[in-house]
Structures are given as structure tokens and as C-alpha cells.
Symmetry: C2
Subunit: 201 residues, 2 copies
Amino acid sequence: MAGRASAQAALETRRSVVKAAADLASVEGLDSVTIGRLAEIVQMSKSGVIGQFRTKEALQLETVELVFSDFRTRVWEAVKRFPRGLPRLLAACDAWTEYAADPGYPGGCLMTQVTYDYDGRDGAVHEKLLEGRNQWRETLRADLTTAVEAGDLPEDTDIESVVFGLESLASFITPARLLHGDTRAADRAFQGMRRIIGVPE
Amino acid sequence: MAGRASAQAALETRRSVVKAAADLASVEGLDSVTIGRLAEIVQMSKSGVIGQFRTKEALQLETVELVFSDFRTRVWEAVKRFPRGLPRLLAACDAWTEYAADPGYPGGCLMTQVTYDYDGRDGAVHEKLLEGRNQWRETLRADLTTAVEAGDLPEDTDIESVVFGLESLASFITPARLLHGDTRAADRAFQGMRRIIGVPE
DNA sequence: AGATTAAGCACACGATCGTACGCTATGCAA
DNA sequence: TTGCATAGCGTACGATCGTGTGCTTAATCT
């Protein structure tokens, strides 16, 4: 079959490639994602795949973007309606752990995967990863601050350390599930989050 | 220079290759470690490098072994003398977080890196990783059980969830440090561990 | 209808991957 | 001292990597 010049069809192709990249990356890591393997998966030629993005790094960046927009949709959008502060924070933790347990990628939460893959490297992927995570951290900080101001959390709450704890617990859900076969990892994470935040069980 | 048939020299070579592999893997991940790059680092030929291990997977397995034996030495051996139960558990958490903050590898704690890299894959590396982590988990469980029996922790302590929490917090030290530049990550992890365990601050 | 734009393919490139083979030179045992 | 085992080198192999160049073909615009 030959080329279709429809811009809409091209967009669909683009999406299917990025989706395949995300699936593959969740299992084997972002840099195991290879143009050749992607071409095989989406049944296209190598040049057809790379042609959409010009360079492999652009494809990686778009994959990371997909991951974060996915995360925002499934977690952030889901708790927008809750009142700011402790209620929204707890709802976010609930949605967050649930997302991590079933992120829709075969190899688990890709955001976590990319985080541990690119935390120590330089480059554009590292930067975009940092930007995406910082957005989420800022959201957490905001609700924590509001919760303290509202008197729902003690005055001396160490906000940065709580954020650290929440991110830790969410991040370990995937390895606990995949490596140790822990089917209740999400529950454990949520339980731990409540302890870290300091709300009664 | 030509070959030296000394078995001791060969062992030294072997160690230097594995050490280089561990250093490189801590930054870029275990499967970015390539025979050619290793050869360049240790100033040997490719065939000289691979000849020690016959296959790349064998080299990877030996690297994972080095990581765990390193961890045991720095963390487990350091707290052996403490009395079993809560005292030894807290000492272990202290040594653990300290180790994660300064593991001696340029890219952070390699045990964590490998965990997130191979949790979702099949193969020998996955198995060895699981075995190593399970040993450590068993140690944690033992001290937790002892602590409960001694009355240092409440009867209804959910041991599995506590283990999950401790592993989570320790694992996030590296990304917090490398990605977010958090220089106090180890302290936050230790503080979180105390909350997860349920000891007063 | 004809011109233009772009999607996707076939193919080729230089580089690097893991591995195998044969050779040289060394240390150790007989 | 002679023979043997082996550490490490040089070289080569088939595969695959990311990327670039034309070409074909279809959709869009005048």
C-alpha cells in the first residue's frame, strides 16, 4: 500500500506509533524502544515511522508527553471537583495509587519507569521529565499548604518531606506488583500515604 | 601488551570489568552497558572483555551479584551487632538510607536502578534480582516480627505493608537527589520510615 | 482537470551491537 | 627446561541501530 496524504490519517499514524512506543517502553524502558521494532509492531517501514518525528529523540519526547497527559487526565482531572486542601489531596492519592496499579500500559506505570531511567542522565528527555514531575509536585504542595492553613494538618508539617513520601510510595507500586507479585500494592501505598500525611487511619 | 596467564591477574581484570559495568549501569541502566564501551573504559579489547564471561548475560548477572554483595556489606553487616527487633530495624533503616544517598556509584543506587529496569522483564537477571531483594525483605520481616513479639510495635502491625513502605522510601532517594536536586532526600526517607513503622518522632 | 503537497515505502549508509575464531605470549607444572 | 593451559589481542561475521535520499501515490487546492 502506498502513502496517504491525508493529514488526519497521518495524525492517527503518529498516535499509533507513540502508543506503541509507550507500551514497549513500559516493559523494557524508553531506550529499548527502537525504530525497527516500532515499525514491526505498527506494520510500517522504518522510514515511515521515523518520518513522522524526524528524529528518535522527538519520538521519545512525544512519548513522555503522552505519559504525562495521560497521568493528568486519569489522576488530576479526576479530583478537580474536590475542595482544595486535605480532601482533594486524599482523593488525589486514591486516584494516584489506583492509576499506578492499572495504568493501561503492559509494563506498569511509564512515568515511574522513565523517572528511574532518566533521573541521572542529561538531555531533553531528562528536562521534560523534570518539568512534568514538578507540575505534579506543585499541585501536591498547594493542597498540602491549604490543608495546613485550614488546620486540617499540623502547623509544623514538613511539606517537602511529605511530597517525597507520597512520590516514593506511588513509585513502588509497579515493582511490587511486577517483581514480588504483590496484588495489594496500591492499598499498601495508599495506607502508607495516610501515615505520611498524618491523617488518622 | 600480550596476555598474562596468571589466574590472579585474570581475577583482577574480571573485577575491574564488573566494577566498570556497575558504574556505567548506575547512570544509564544495565542494558546500556555494552561490551564495546566497557572495553574502552578498562582499556582492553572487546574480545578480552567478553572472554572473561563468555556471554553478556553472565556479565550482567555478575554485576547484579556485585551490587547485592555491596549492599549486604554496607548495610546488613553494619547492623549485625544490634539487638534483633526494633533496634536493629531502625539501625538498618539508618544505614540503608545513608547507603542510598551515597552508594559509591556515580548514577546512584544500582540496586534500585536494576529493580525498576527489570521488574517487568523475564530472564535470569529478573530472577537474580528477585532473589536478592527477597533476602533483604526476609531480614526486614524478621526484625519486624521480633519487634511486634517484644511489644515494641503494636500487635496489629501490617508487616507486609511496612516492608512495602520502607522499600518505597529507600528507592526514591536516588531520583529525588538526581532529578530534583534534593540533598536531604536520605533524611526525608528516614523520617518517613519512622512514620511507616509507627515509632514516635 | 491540473498542480501541489505530503505520507509512506524501498533502499542504502556508516556505526555499533554480541559473539566466534585463531593467534601470540605468558605463567605454571612436569 | 620443556610443554601446556590460558589471558588477552586482532579480526571478522551477521544483525540491528538511527538517519538520509528519492520515488510512488493519494489527498487537497486553484
